[in-house]
C-alpha cells in the first residue's frame, strides 16, 4: 500500500470512530439540559435522578469524543500537509473559531456542571449544561462550515498557488452548510433519542424498581425522537436535492445510475458491474428518482458516463467516478436505517402519547436493538458523502492524491494507523464496559455518585 492509501484508511478510521461519539454528544447534551430544566422548574426529584443518570452516560461518551477529537485537529497538518498549504487560508479559520468559540465553552462549562452541583446556584448550574449543549453544537456548525467548503467551494480565489479567502460571510453561509448543519444536528437529536428509547426499553423489559422513571424517559425519548427523525429526513432530502445540483456525480453514484435518464428510475436493489459500468441485476421504480430530485415525475438525472465525459472536458483527462458500490450501499445503509427509525419513532410516539407503556416484550427488544440504527446511519452517511466526492478532496479544486503529506514516509503512517487502532480498540472496550455497568445500575438512589452504584451492583 502506498502512503496515500494508508493515510486515507487512517483518516477514515479515526474520523468514523470519532463520529461514533459526536452525534450522541450533540443530541444528549440538549436532552440532559431539557430534563434538568424540568427539574429546575418543578423541583421534582425524579427529574434530578433522570438528569444524573443520562448525564453520567453523556459524560462517558463526551470524554472519549473529546479525546479522539484532538487527532482530528492535528491530522490535517500531520497527514495532509499539502492540503493544509493549499487550503489553510480558508480551512484554518473555521477550525480556529471552533476551538475559540465552542471547545472552550463546552469544556469549561462541563467542568462547572460536573463539579458544580453543590457549589453553584441552581440557575447557573442549569445554564452550564445549556452552554455545554450550545458549545457542542456550535462546534459541529464550524467544522461543517469547513467541510462544506470541501463539498462546494465558495467565497475564494485561487491566488499564490492556493485557495485564498475573499468572502468570509459567503463561506459561513455556504448553501451547503445551510442544509448540512440541520441534517447533522437532527441526526444528533435522533441518535440521542434512540439511545434513550433503547436503554429505557431494556429497563422496561426488566421491570426493575425504576420502571416509572424509565417509562418517563421513554416517553421523552419518543417525542424527542419523533422531532429528530422527521426533521433529519426532511433535511436529508433537501441536502440530497442540493447535492444533485452541486455534485451530480455523487448522487449518480448513490443510485448506480450509469447513463442519464428522463424520467429517471430509482433503484431499489442493484448488483452492478463497476468496471464495465452496467447493471448485472436491478429492481427499479420508474420516475421516482426524478421525483426525489426535482419534486416532479420528470426531469433528466445525469448518469455517471455523461458526467465523466463532462468532467473530462472541464477538468482535463482523469477518472472522476467515485467508488460506485460503496456509494450505493452506504447511501442505502443511511436511508434504510433512517426509514426504520422513522417507523419506530412514529410507533413509539403513537403508543406513549396517552401514557400507554404496554409494549409486547418483542417490541421492547426491537426498541433496544434500534439504538444501533442511528450509528449505522451516521457512519454510512459520512462514508457516503466523503467517498462519493472522490477523487476530489476539495470538489473541483484539489484531488485527494495531491493532498497527502509528501514528507511523511508510508511506514510512519502505518505505525500511527496501527497504534491509533489499538488504542481506540482498548478505549472502546472500556467505554462499552462502563456503559453496560451504568445502564444496568439504573437510577435508584443518587446515581450521580459511583458509591451508590457500587452498592447497587454488589446487591445485584
Amino acid at each position: 500500500m502506498d502512503a496515500v492509501t494508508i493515510a486515507r484508511w487512517q483518516f477514515a478510521i479515526v474520523t468514523v470512530y470519532h463520529f461514533f461519539f459526536v452525534p450522541l454528544t450533540l443530541g444528549l447534551s440538549i436532552f440532559v439540559a431539557i430534563i434538568q430544566t424540568f427539574y429546575y422548574k418543578t423541583g421534582d426529584e425524579k427529574y434530578k435522578k433522570m438528569t444524573k443518570f443520562w448525564g453520567k452516560l453523556f459524560l462517558i461518551n463526551f470524554a472519549i469524543g473529546v479525546a479522539t477529537g484532538i487527532v482530528q485537529e492535528f491530522q490535517f497538518g500531520m497527514n495532509w500537509s499539502e492540503y493544509s498549504r493549499f487550503m489553510g487560508d480558508i480551512f484554518g479559520a473555521p477550525l480556529a473559531i471552533e476551538a475559540l468559540l465552542a471547545f472552550f465553552m463546552e469544556s469549561t462549562f462541563l467542568g462547572l456542571w460536573i463539579f458544580g452541583w453543590e457549589k453553584l446556584p441552581k440557575k447557573i448550574h442549569l445554564a452550564s449544561i445549556w452552554l455545554v449543549a450550545i458549545g457542542s453544537n456550535l462546534s459541529a456548525f464550524w467544522i461543517l462550515v469547513a467541510n462544506s467548503f470541501m463539498q462546494q467551494p465558495v467565497g475564494y480565489a485561487i491566488r499564490n498557488g492556493r485557495a485564498e479567502m475573499t468572502d468570509f460571510f459567503a463561506i459561513v453561509t455556504n448553501g451547503h452548510v445551510l442544509v448540512q448543519f440541520p441534517h447533522v444536528f437532527f441526526a444528533g437529536v435522533s441518535t440521542a433519542a434512540f439511545f434513550v428509547i433503547g436503554i429505557s426499553a431494556w429497563h422496561m423489559m426488566k421491570k426493575g424498581k425504576d420502571l416509572k422513571l424509565f417509562q418517563s424517559s421513554f416517553k421523552m425519548g419518543a417525542v424527542y425522537g419523533l422531532v429528530g427523525v422527521i426533521l433529519v429526513t426532511l433535511e436529508g432530502h433537501a441536502q440530497a436535492q442540493y447535492m444533485t445540483k452541486i455534485q451530480p456525480m455523487k448522487m449518480a453514484a448513490a443510485e448506480a445510475l450509469w447513463d442519464s435518464e428522463n424520467p429517471a428510475s430509482f433503484s431499489l436493489f442493484t448488483i452492478g458491474d463497476e468496471k464495465n459500468r452496467e447493471d448485472v441485476f436491478a429492481i427499479k421504480i420508474p420516475a421516482l428518482l426524478s421525483f426525489l430530485s426535482y419534486n416532479k415525475f420528470e426531469g433528466e438525472v445525469k448518469g455517471i458516463n455523461d458526467l465523466q465525459r463532462e468532467y473530462e472536458k472541464r477538468y482535463g483527462p482523469g477518472d472522476y467516478v467515485p467508488p460506485v458500490a460503496v456509494s450505493y450501499w452506504t447511501f442505502r445503509g443511511m436511508v434504510g436505517a433512517g426509514t426504520l427509525m422513522v417507523l419506530l419513532a412514529l410507533y413509539a410516539f403513537w403508543k406513549v402519547r396517552k401514557d400507554d407503556f404496554n409494549f409486547h416484550p418483542t417490541m421492547l427488544k426491537i426498541f433496544f436493538w434500534s439504538l444501533f440504527l442511528p450509528y449505522i446511519a451516521n457512519s454510512t452517511g459520512w462514508i457516503f458523502t466523503e467517498m462519493a466526492r472522490q477523487p476530489w478532496i476539495v470538489f473541483g479544486l484539489m484531488k485527494t492524491k495531491d493532498a497527502v503529506s509528501n514528507t511523511v514516509p508510508a511506514g510512519n503512517v502505518l505505525f500511527s494507523l496501527i497504534t491509533y487502532a489499538i488504542l481506540y480498540a482498548i478505549l472502546m472496550v472500556a467505554t462499552v464496559f462502563l456503559w453496560k455497568k451504568y445502564i444496568k445500575a439504573g437510577m435508584t438512589g443518587e446515581t450521580g455518585t459511583d458509591e451508590n452504584v457500587e452498592t447497587i451492583i454488589s446487591q445485584a
Partner: protein, 338 residues
C-alpha cells in the same frame, strides 16, 4: 505593527496560556502516583484539576487552530515534520483525557491504578515532548527550500532538544507540585510541599543549563545579546525566588513565580524566533517566517476580529471557573466527583 506580527504575538499568548495552565496540569498528573498513596488521596489530587484540565487543554487546540488559520505553512511543515513525535503525544493525550473521566467510574483497584498510570504517562510524555519541540524550533531543523522538513524523528532527539525536554518536564512538575500545595489539605499537602522543595533545585539547574546551552546551540546570543533584556532576566529571578518562597510557606507567591518563569521563558523563545516561526538549519533563507508562512491579509483581518471578541470572553469565564473552585479539596463527597 502589521497583522502578521499581531498573529505571531497572539499565538505566543496562546502558548503562554497553554504552558501556564496545562503546565501545572501535567505536573499534577505526573505527581499523581507519588502524592496519592491511597484511593482517596489520589482522587483529591485528580480533583484539584478536575474541573479545569479539559478547558486548559483547549489552549493547545486553539493554538493549533490559530497556527493553521494564520500560518498554514508553519502548521503544515511542523505537524508533518514532527510526525512521530506528535503521534506519541496524541496517544498520550487521548489516553489521559479518557483516564480522567473513567478512572473513578469503576471500583476495582486494578482498574483505578491502571488509569492512574495512564494519567501519569499521558502527562509525562507531553511535558517532555513540548520542551523537545520548542528547543528544536529555536535550534533549527532541516527544512529545504520548499518548506519541507527533511529530517526524521531522531533528528529531534539531539542533546539540546533532550535537555529542553528535561527542562520543561521538571519545570512543569514543579509548577504542578506548587499548584497542589494550594489545593490540598492534610497529609497530601505535606507530601506536595516536600516534592515542591525537592523538585526546585532540579528544575532550576536544568532550566539554567538549557539557557546556557542555548547560547551555543542557537542564534539567541546574536539575537538577544550579552544583555538579554528584562524578560529572560526576570524569568530567571522568578524561579530563583521560589525556594525561599516555599521555605517560608508563601506558596501562592511561589505559584505566581513558576507561572512567571513559564510565561516569560515562552516570550523569550518567541522573541528569539521573531520574525521566524521555524528555523531552517540548512539555510537561513529557507526558514519559515511570519511572512512567507502566513495566510492572506484578508484572512488575518477576519481572524483578528474573531480573536478580539472571543479571547477576552474566554479569559473571563475561565477565570470565573477557577474562582468558583478556588477552595482546597476536602474529603467531602461533593469534592470527589471524579
Amino acid at each position: 505593527m502589521d497583522l502578521n506580527t499581531i498573529w505571531f504575538i497572539l499565538i505566543a499568548v496562546l502558548f503562554i496560556g497553554f504552558f501556564f495552565l496545562e503546565g501545572f496540569d501535567y505536573g499534577v498528573g505526573i505527581l499523581l502516583p507519588f502524592i496519592g498513596k491511597d484511593d482517596t488521596s489520589r482522587r483529591k489530587v485528580i480533583n484539584a484539576i478536575g474541573p479545569h484540565w479539559d478547558g486548559n487543554e483547549v489552549w493547545l487546540l486553539t493554538a493549533g487552530g490559530a497556527i493553521f488559520a494564520a500560518f498554514p505553512h508553519w502548521y503544515a511543515t511542523m505537524f508533518s515534520g514532527f510526525y512521530l513525535a506528535l503521534v506519541i503525544m496524541l496517544l498520550a493525550l487521548i489516553g489521559r483525557g479518557v483516564a480522567f473521566e473513567y478512572r473513578s467510574k469503576h471500583t476495582t483497584a486494578k482498574w483505578r491504578n491502571g488509569w492512574d498510570w495512564v494519567i501519569f504517562i499521558g502527562s509525562f510524555v507531553p511535558a517532555l515532548l513540548w520542551g523537545v519541540a520548542i528547543a528544536n524550533l529555536i535550534r533549527g531543523v532541516p527544512i529545504d527550500e520548499n518548506m519541507n522538513y527533511t529530517g526524521n524523528f531522531f533528528t529531534l532527539l539531539n542533546p539540546y532538544g533532550l535537555l529542553g525536554g528535561l527542562a520543561s518536564l521538571t519545570v512543569f512538575t514543579l509548577h504542578g507540585a506548587i499548584f497542589l500545595t494550594l489545593k490540598l489539605t492534610g497529609k497530601e499537602l505535606e507530601i506536595a510541599r516536600a516534592y515542591a522543595r525537592k523538585l526546585w533545585p532540579v528544575a532550576t539547574i536544568l532550566l539554567f543549563a538549557f539557557v546556557i546551552y542555548g547560547y551555543f546551540e542557537t542564534d539567541m546570543f546574536s539575537k538577544l545579546g550579552v544583555d538579554p533584556g528584562a524578560v529572560p532576566v526576570i524569568a530567571a529571578l522568578a524561579i530563583l525566588s521560589v525556594e525561599w518562597l516555599l521555605k517560608s510557606k508563601k506558596e501562592g507567591w511561589a505559584f505566581v513565580m513558576t507561572g512567571l518563569t513559564i510565561a516569560l521563558s515562552t516570550i523569550t523563545v518567541f522573541m528569539g524566533l521573531y520574525p521566524r516561526v521555524m528555523v531552517s538549519s540548512l539555510n537561513p533563507d529557507w526558514s519559515l517566517t511570519i511572512y512567507n508562512a502566513s495566510s492572506s491579509p484578508y484572512t488575518l483581518k477576519v481572524m483578528s476580529f474573531v480573536a478580539l471578541i472571543f479571547v477576552p470572553l474566554v479569559l473571563l469565564y475561565q477565570a470565573w471557573s477557577y474562582w468558583v473552585f478556588r477552595k482546597r479539596i476536602s474529603e467531602k463527597k461533593e469534592d470527589l466527583e471524579y
